[in-house]
Amino acid sequence: MSLASALFGSHSVSREVRDRVDRLELPFSRFGVDNYGISKKHLAYWFTLLGVMYKEYFRVKAYGTEHIPKRGRGMLIGNHSGGIAIDGAMVIASCLFEMEPPRLAQGMVEKFLNKVPMASLWFNRVGQLTGLPENATHLLEDDRLLMVFPEGARGTAKLYWERTSLVHFGSGFMRLALQTKTPIIPFGFIGGGDAFPTVANSVRAGRAVGAPYVPISAYLLPVPLPVQLAVHYGEPMVFEGTGNEDDATIEHKVNEVKARIADLIEHGERQRAGFLTLPGRS
């Protein structure tokens, strides 16, 4: 915590963030840590930073958060948008800042990040665990809210001109949803590709830092532009099955989710372009 204190100062956590973190319905012990190592102190510092990005820098608009279950297990499934994981961070922020009561969405982090000093510590303390099926199952069986990007690293590798497209969806999330009887809340994330316009991905630079690749922005700096972002949540999708179905059956269900996300993206892009007039943040 000393690093966090040095960076932010002990009084820099906003009252709103402290209140919302306090109202998270997680089983924090007297030490302020839950059974996954999620720390209230770390959450407060982290969401203070995310709050500035969410409200001031990207001015994110979130639509349809009422579709996210207030309690109980759920899977947020959406598209990757932008070369760095702004999308995941803003989805997590939307669940804390827009939901009543606030919820902590827990993402699945690329394995290499757990080897990186500080990144390993912080991702674990704020509940973003390594992307493994065992971790996902455990969280869902514990009635947590899981966030999954089925495009994986292929999704963040999308170039600027591919930013509104969807690449191949892995099917693991669907088997997991069926096995744990978890509703899927699809979402379309809009604007990430404009905030971080990737023109190339350097595998060589990625190898140097232990990552699959490093995205190169049009202006070379690894800093996103202050573009307005939006996230559109759709109605929950509930699928029947055991998770042991053959690949073709699972693929069919995955494509249903993918099509729903494509609809949400298209709707979001049209709205953004001004074709639709909808009320503001829900």
């Binding site: 012990s29 390594t130 493994l132 455990h138």
Partner: protein
Amino acid sequence: MKVLLPGISGLLARIVARKLAQRGHEVIGIDSRPWPDIPQGITLHAVDIRKRAAEDVFRTARPDAVIHMATVTHLLQKSEDRYRINLGGTRAVWDHCHAYGVKHAIFVGRHTYYGAAADAPLYHTEEEPPSGATQFPELSDLVAADLYAGSALWRYPEIATAVLRICYTLGPSHHGTLATFLKPRRIPLVMGFDPLFQFMHEDDAAEGIVVALEKRVRGVFNVSGPPPLPLSVIAHAAGKRTLPVPEGLFRALLGRFGVPHLPQGAVEHIKFPIVIDSMRFKKTIGFRYTHDAEATIESFRATS
């Protein structure tokens, strides 16, 4: 019940032995180490578990149950000795159990069986294969002994064999890996890492072993207590200060300037967590720990 405890002079084994005696069981121990203030009613045979004299204890005492706690966990012991004691001893115990009609045998193992790695799941279940030995070869004999004891489930089906993989213990005895790590005033951490550590009060661990014996459970079980805590939180709660050291320097300083004397592979255990899911044990025997994390750390701190 007549219970034989190989390794009875170990500090956790002594707590188990006392509990068994208090509950009216007849307790016999085997250990080449002394137990100076051994309570009345507990018999100690000062022999090596791998020698003929140990077999004679089985032959003459004819125990109903055996709790095998004669494993060396001290990582700095020469690996050849460890292999002989841990693997050879485990083999001898189950062979004697089979030969002399023991009905129930418990192997007291460690949760470090699962290993610590960046790409490992946070909660380990009993179905997972061991990966403890891949990055930490010094653990391979304990992993092998655990698997060998487990193989008794099919080799000697007449014996109800239970393998208990117990998380770190902490308590007034100041015995065990975590207690040793928490001894210095300043606890060195690998900078940028703060793994969850799972621990339980030594009295709860001993209770778990005794209840497993009394319920005559069979199979492999993870045994843990309260939810895990980050190592830094444990250190601060124990009244210690932490000192984050860059990994390269930490490795170079092992055994010097207050950095613990550990094998290189052990550094992974200070970077990544080993946390076990003990739901099966809790459901099977209805085990509930009685000391929460705060009380457990306090019991350690109060006796420092």
